[in-house]
Symmetry: C2
Subunit: 154 residues, 2 copies
């Protein structure tokens, strides 16, 4: 045993060879990082997953395994799949907001066009957007057709 | 050995007891499901993760472990963290689009208000939005202030 053993070899109480697969990614000053992946995957599986990729990709493998193991430890039921579900909900909500705001823009543009035509004394075409406009310029019908309830989980 | 062994016990070539922890979540008709989690976590770790939660949560544990193991097999460097990164990018892009469209709405509303005041012969207040409008009603300055470059990964 040497004093420069990596976190993995230190925790597994074994000699740390100079070409240790864990050494660059699990330094001795961060034992928690190895503890998380060891608990979820086991040291042997982590070693295999590091070995099966190119050397320049191993830091990303170690980091993503650590992230997943950390999430699984904090959320034993869903792990980082729980985070994915939250992000999907957020995307659904943003897409819904964007569609709503884009519809509002279309109506405002149609209103501006109608008013410009009226100002020039032109005959106003009866488009669906024009027909929706009330005398106060409130375009409530189309906007209210959006379901304002909370989007369901998927 | 019985003919109703679960996928785990069948693959591990062992007897499948009636209270086998894997039996409800890794049925014999879907051996691939167990193969994925076995390869990434090892059967023993999967068993431990199932045992440490309430019985009604185990189906979700098995499903999320399968999802993560499947992603890791398909993407050995990033696993499902790669999916999380893509979702973050998507959210960033949607938030950017939403901010842009909301700014456009504010400008259209300001333009409509200005035109209504002009039509009524009122003095138009010099608001920043009014000051941005050129004689053709083109509000390019504020909109073009958004950075149109591709958002960076985070």
């Amino acid at each position: 045993m040497t004093s420069t053993r990596c976190a993995a070899c230190k925790q597994l109480r074994r000699r740390c060879p100079s070409d240790c697969i864990f050494l660059p990614y699990f330094p001795p000053n961060n034992p928690q990082r190895f503890s998380f992946v060891h608990k979820i995957y086991g040291a042997s599986n982590v070693g295999k997953m590091l070995q099966q990729v190119e050397e320049h990709q191993r830091a990303d493998v170690a980091h993503s395994l650590y992230y997943e193991a950390y999430c699984r430890t904090k959320n034993p039921v869903y792990g980082c799949v729980g985070n994915i579900s939250i992000l999907h909900q957020e995307i659904y909500h943003l897409e819904w907001q964007l569609a709503k705001v884009e519809a509002e823009i279309s109506l405002l543009k149609a209103q501006a066009q109608t008013e410009a035509q009226l100002a020039q004394g032109q005959q106003v075409e009866l488009s669906p957007a024009n027909m929706l406009a009330d005398k106060n310029g409130v375009y409530s019908s189309l906007l209210s057709s959006f379901d304002l309830s909370t989007p369901s989980l998927y």
